[in-house]
Amino acid sequence: MVVLSSLGSPQWRINTSTQSKQYLTLHTLESIHPTDIFALAPTPSSILTGSGSSTIQIHSTVPPTNPSAPSTTSPAKAATTAIDGAGGQSNEQGKEFAKLQELKAAHALGCHHIAVARETFRRAASVGFGGEVKLWAYTADETWIEEMIELDMPLDGKTTKKAGEAWAVALSYNGRFLASTTHDGRINVWELEGSDAGKRIREYETKGSWGMCIDISADGRFTASGHENGSLYIFNNDTGRLLHSLPSLLRPVRSVAFSPHTTLLAAAGDSRTIALYEVSSGEQVANLAGHSAWILSIDFNSTGEYLLSGGFDGRAKVWNVGTRTCVVTHGESEKPLWVVRWLPKIGGRSEMFVVAGGTGGVGVLREASGG
């Protein structure tokens, strides 16, 4: 190990081979939902969260832009709180991590998945515990409104009932395509733009095991699904064919994620390990072991160098994808982390991620400066 002691700055050690990183809790949005938070999707300036509540909450993740907003020093904060108590919501707006919007009555029974278009951030999709999908558009006045696109749903063979309630969803990076899984193992892809908006353009059949998770690659070419029986598939969206049936994890697969350059697919779940596959060949290239509980959520950072994972025991880990090592383990409670996500990298800001789950709140973590 090279210790650059002459520089006199301990943070430089991060660049050595036995690296570790440090992330500090920047903020905690406490108990913003009445139940566990099951769904979270970040945009460059906000996070959308879903839970057992019928309301989807949207909170800011950037400092307030209003220069006259009260500073966050404690006396001012106390004063703001006092005013809040008397005056209602208006003071929320100026605060850091303020609530920006509520999407009321979004899902009557609660919401378990939210996806956003990760390039344009102009569209989001959410799924409720009743199996229904809703689409949301980000408008010019910086609010989300429901988009009325009727999705062409497959029909049950015997009845006119719409079969295959949606479970997990993903949006393509440009927001043009929506993909969902069903409890009976089907994967549907819909076109959302133009005169064909709502048309189901792909239906992939698998062996009937519940599709617990799904992702679309950044280039839009591939859809990957993970299933309850451990199966993992990559489909080629251009040809509409199965590209790879990947080696099974044998246990439920609760999260899949393509790397940003679509070179790797990561998959994790009850096996407690994260499997990395090469997309082009379908070969497994690594197995990241370290979690001692079911892994519920994984996410690549914007460069693909780091992978974030969250477990049923409340532990979050950051992995160096190149060295296949865990560089940080974070845990504040023993409650499940249903969803962990990197925040989109925006100019000059240190890398940040959020964790959400059994506390009903969201933890916001920022990489310690100097890394």
């Binding site: 009445p34 139940t35 566990d36 099951f38 057992g52 509540s53 019928s54 515990f129 001692s292 079911w294």
Partner: protein
């Protein structure tokens, strides 16, 4: 022959009644045709075969009787009302897949039925009319609950019953206002969903300081009424429930605590809101899973998910409902896609007995 067939027969009768009402003809009286069992018969429902089987020859004593409304007399009108009400209650039980007892039916409307024997006779006549065993109507004869524990009941005439008299428990007794329920040696009450668990716990010393109670699934009125009497006799006694980690387990917990939706008018008198949920909870499931692979962990079925979805909309599990923690656990169950039966605890060292003692703070 299935319950579906019975349901459709019942619905056909209801449709006939509606048709009769709509026709409003001079003779458009409401009428139900019943087959009356031979009065001296000891076999209540002899036909176990196909539904189109004719009465066996030689059954000359079988009579057909048409009961009309309003009919010729007040008793006939009453009889018609009794039959339609019982049909409605059995239909409801069949549709919801819940077993009920004759006693449950009586308690639904004692002012109409007057005595238990009216219900007993009518249920058996209906089974006979449809040519099915009574069990196919989802109606059982007596209380199904079992209880075991260190309590006594002294009747007005001085007769006493001890809750420890039978090693494997006794049928849940009916307590009337003139009885004295003695709970002095009881420190807790544990309600368990399953008879198998009850038997396991019955063989431990838990019964010496507490009361063990099971209704073998969804509780009947007799079991709920007994638990309610315990809770009102000593309101400080801690009450616990141990149910499966699945939608039915939570629905059973909800029935003991807040009553069933279909028995709304009975609920105030039978609910026991002070029950504490001992388990099995999602955290137990993951902890157990770690040690014993997936033994005892099952996948949620389509029916489980459907039931859970319906529960998420009701007043107990709904948003802003009575039991926030239960709602959360139901959602977590749907997210995980797994359920676990109480038997999963048997795989642990010390089994369910040690687990319960630990949870109750007894060890």
């Amino acid at each position: 022959m299935t319950s579906d067939w019975v349901i459709s027969r019942m619905e056909a009768i209801f449709e006939d009644q509606v048709d009769a009402m709509e026709r409003c003809e001079d003779d458009g009286k409401l009428a139900i045709c019943m087959r009356i069992r031979p009065r001296n018969s000891v076999v209540p429902a002899p036909f176990q075969g196909e539904h189109d089987a004719e009465p066996a020859s030689g059954e000359a004593s079988v009579r057909m009787r048409t009961i009309r409304f309003p009919g010729k007399s007040t008793p006939e009108a009453w009889k018609y009302t009794v039959i339609t009400r019982i049909l409605e209650l059995i239909h409801e039980a069949l549709i919801s897949g819940v077993a009920i007892t004759k006693r449950d039916i009586y308690y639904r409307q004692p002012d109409l039925f007057v005595t238990q024997s009216v219900v007993d006779r009518c249920v058996d006549d209906l089974a006979f009319t449809f040519g099915v065993p009574r069990s196919l109507l989802n109606v059982s004869a007596a209380a199904k609950g079992l209880v075991l524990g260190n309590f006594t009941i002294v009747r007005a005439d001085g007769a006493a019953m001890n809750g420890l008299s039978e090693k494997e428990g006794v049928l849940v007794p009916n307590i009337v206002p003139t009885d004295t329920l003695n709970l002095r040696s009881v420190e807790f009450v544990l309600v368990v969903e399953k008879e198998a668990t009850f038997r396991t716990l019955a063989s431990s010393n838990l019964k010496d300081s507490g009361i063990l109670l099971t209704a073998k699934g969804y509780p009947d009125i007799a079991t709920r009424s007994f638990l309610r009497t315990i809770s009102t006799t000593n309101s400080t006694l801690p009450l616990f429930a141990l149910v499966d980690f699945d939608p039915d387990g939570l629905a059973i917990l909800s029935t003991y605590t807040h009553g069933s939706a279909s028995l709304a008018h009975e609920n105030a008198a039978l609910s026991v809101p002070s029950i504490q949920w001992l388990g099995i909870k999602s955290q137990d499931v993951s902890a157990l899973e770690g040690v014993h692979a997936r033994q005892g962990l099952l996948k949620l079925t389509k029916r489980d998910r459907g039931l859970a979805q319906r529960m998420l909309g009701n007043e107990v599990f709904g948003e802003g409902g009575l039991e926030g923690e239960w709602r959360n656990e139901l959602l977590v169950m749907l997210m995980l896609g797994v359920k676990a039966e109480i038997q999963i605890l048997e795989a642990r060292e010390g089994g369910v007995v040690e687990w319960v003692k630990k949870r109750l703070g007894l060890v």
